[in-house]
């Protein structure tokens, strides 16, 4: 089958990419793109389109129409980009980097269509093809967007609360011996309990499920951020503090302008771990308690056996969470710009 040929081509192509990049690393403009790189997206999209048209011959047109249009537009933009790239070095660099990845993604979707709608290797209501998922996404876009918006509000509230509390407790435990003595055992005993295990208690305690969900997410974020903030603060190089003292620094300066900046790399590891924990807790909380959001949507649609919509929600979730993760990376890149060149990002 064509797809497999396409897929085996990818690694070879990427290896060549790598050598090309190594050779041309210092040249201001990206070197000329290889024909294979330029053709990757159009070829993958054409193959996927042909497979799709073949597979969906005997299916109702409205269900498959958008997917054809989707593949068509990828094909069109691939061809267009390949034609235009010789005028824009920025676009060329982007294509050299992203071309193989996009082509691989399209090929994967094509493979998915072959084993679901095509050969019907997987039981149907549970495993719809890409065309069905895309159609569900379009049909239910209003509710999906609303769910994503509700999830975002809940996530941000819980994450912000958790981080704010964790930074205070982390700095205190890391800096003050008294706080360390009393806080560390609490952190070590209570922290490792998965935040979702508190859900039954939270449901009893709190007036509204939304409120308890914010608390649970904050708790999930609090533990890793506190732990890594405290360890970052207490591992501040003693010589930085000595230097600051001989420069006339008092305690507020030592904490705010020496220990906290020195702990920032560690704090960011905590923020990333906390974000992962927040995603997990968010979805669980929405599945069991909160009556809105993407987690609720998935559970709801699964109850109606609308698996196309379940997958559509997963696609939205992937885009939603990875965007937030990327934003956090951008924040880190700004805050820790002084590390650039010291560590590998």
């Amino acid at each position: 089958m064509n797809t497999s040929v396409q897929e085996t081509n990818e690694p070879v192509q990427m290896a060549e990419e790598k050598t090309a990049r190594a050779v041309g690393i210092n040249s201001p403009a990206a070197p000329r793109a290889r024909v294979r790189t330029l053709l990757a997206i159009p070829v993958a999209a054409s193959v996927a389109l042909v497979v799709h048209l073949f597979v969906s011959k005997n299916q109702p047109a409205p269900e498959t129409h958008s997917y054809s249009a989707f593949l068509g537009s990828i094909l069109l933009s691939g061809v267009l980009a390949a034609a235009v790239q010789s005028f824009s070095s920025h676009l060329r660099r982007w294509m050299r980097h992203m071309g193989p990845i996009i082509a691989a993604a399209v090929s994967l979707a094509c493979f998915w269509e072959v084993i679901t709608s095509g050969l019907r290797l997987l039981p149907l209501p549970y495993f719809p093809g890409p065309a069905g998922v895309l159609q569900s996404l379009i049909d239910d876009r209003a509710l999906l967007l609303d769910s994503a918006w509700n999830s975002l509000k809940l996530l941000l509230a819980g994450y912000a609360l958790g981080v704010a509390v964790a930074l205070v407790t982390g700095v205190c435990i890391g800096w003050f011996n008294q706080a360390r003595y009393w806080g560390m055992p609490l952190l070590k005993v209570v922290g490792p309990i998965p935040a979702t295990a508190w859900i039954p208690l939270a449901m009893v305690l709190s007036p509204s499920p939304r409120f308890s969900a914010v608390g649970i997410i904050a708790l999930a974020v609090w533990f890793p951020v506190t732990m890594l903030t405290a360890s970052g603060i207490s591992n501040t190089r003693a010589s930085y503090l000595d230097v600051a003292r001989t420069l006339g620094a008092r305690e507020p300066y030592l904490v705010l302008r020496v220990a906290i900046p020195a702990a920032m790399p560690s704090i960011f590891i905590g923020l990333f771990m906390g974000l992962g924990a927040a995603f997990l807790t968010l979805v669980v909380a929405e599945t069991v308690g909160v009556k809105s959001g993407l987690g609720w949507y998935v559970a709801w649609k699964q109850g109606w056996a609308e698996y196309g919509k379940v997958y559509a929600a997963l696609v939205i979730m992937a885009a939603f969470f990875s965007t937030i993760m990327t934003l956090l990376f951008k924040v880190r890149d700004r805050v820790l710009v002084w590390q650039k060149g010291v560590i590998k990002w």
């Binding site: 001989t246 006339g248 302008r257």
Partner: protein, 332 residues
């Protein structure tokens, strides 16, 4: 001259009176190691004094005490008429590692002292002066890891000097630099000192550096750390590193530290038990001249012989000087 006005001394006198500092031993908390055994030292305002001595003689400990980062077990430390009880911006400290804050640019590192004291608004103009003084105005917005070792150390100097300290403590500030950068930096430190007349106390491993730069040289010996002798350097600056007087002083210091010349050093790797100083390790000043050492010792100038006698020296800790002789110190 320099951008700073070369007016009267900014410095202030420093007195160290019978200072004793003990540390708990790392393996047994009840045993205490004496790092400084009654050190007395007086530095006049505007004077540049070097402290030389092998590792473990307590010179860095002494500097930390003067900086106020540690407190002595007994004895007193005074800056002018004020006792030293805590760190203060009056006593700047520069380490061998520049210890620049990596999250701050060069400019922000230099102004750290102003921010810490809350006087940035009034003194902001000085930041540019000090950037120029150490020749780094082009790197004002660079982060420390973009700088070379010499540049980093210049930033560290500027960062300490911007507080106009009355005493500047330098703990082997040039120790990590290559020989050429080091010589250039020595001139640079001298230039800063001459411009500001800050009292400077310089700890160094490098005997040439001490002679080249200082008014007086304090020689310390270890176990326990104490001052062996103080030597005045009367030469005018700039000093010639190869002048007869320079070389004479060098020889004198090397002899005090038991490194007098290659031949003697070879002989000092004596066969077990026949160390020339065996039995009179107590008084440092009138040791037998090394020429009187057992001639058989010359034969022992092999790797294994040296290792053997080192082991011997380690086993008899009272004879601390022979241990010193084989330690990693360069002959100058």
């Amino acid at each position: 001259m320099v951008a700073m006005s070369a007016s009267a001394s900014e410095g202030s006198s420093l007195r160290v009176l019978g200072v004793v500092k003990e540390f708990p031993s790392p393996d047994n908390a009840n045993v205490r190691t004496m790092a400084l055994a009654g050190v007395t030292l007086s530095v006049a305002a505007g004077e540049l004094v070097s402290i030389v001595g092998p590792s473990g003689c307590g010179k860095s400990t002494l500097l930390r005490l003067i900086a106020g980062l540690d407190s002595p077990n007994s004895g007193e430390l005074w800056i002018g008429d004020v006792p030293i009880i805590a760190p203060s911006a009056e006593r700047g400290l520069v380490f061998q590692d520049p210890n620049l804050f990596p999250w701050l640019t060069v400019r922000r590192n230099i102004q750290a002292g102003l921010v810490a004291r809350g006087v940035l608004q009034e003194k902001r103009h000085e930041v540019d002066e000090f950037l120029r003084l150490v020749g780094l105005d082009a790197f004002a917005n660079a982060f420390p890891h973009h700088l070379s070792g010499g540049m980093s150390q210049r930033v560290a100097l500027a960062r300490a000097l911007i507080n106009h300290p009355k005493v500047l403590l330098l703990d082997e500030p040039l120790g990590a630099l290559d020989a050429f950068t080091r010589m250039r930096m020595q001139d640079e430190v001298l230039r800063l000192w001459q411009a500001r007349r800050t009292t400077m106390l310089l700890v160094t491993h490098d005997i040439d550096e001490a002679i080249y730069m200082s008014d007086r040289i304090v020689i310390m010996t270890p176990s326990p750390g104490r001052i062996e002798r103080t030597i005045s350097v009367a030469q005018d600056r700039p000093r010639q590193r190869s002048s007869p007087e320079f070389l004479r002083l060098r020889g004198e210091i090397l002899e005090l530290l038991h490194f007098a010349g290659n031949a003697t050093r070879d002989r000092s790797s004596v066969s077990p038990g026949v160390s020339p100083d065996a039995g009179d390790g107590s008084s440092g000043d009138d040791r037998k001249p090394p020429e009187q050492a057992d001639p058989a010792a010359v034969k022992q100038n092999t790797q294994s012989g040296a290792v053997h006698s080192l082991r011997e020296a380690l086993s008899s800790r009272k004879n601390s000087t022979s241990l010193l002789r084989h330690s990693g110190l360069p002959p100058g």
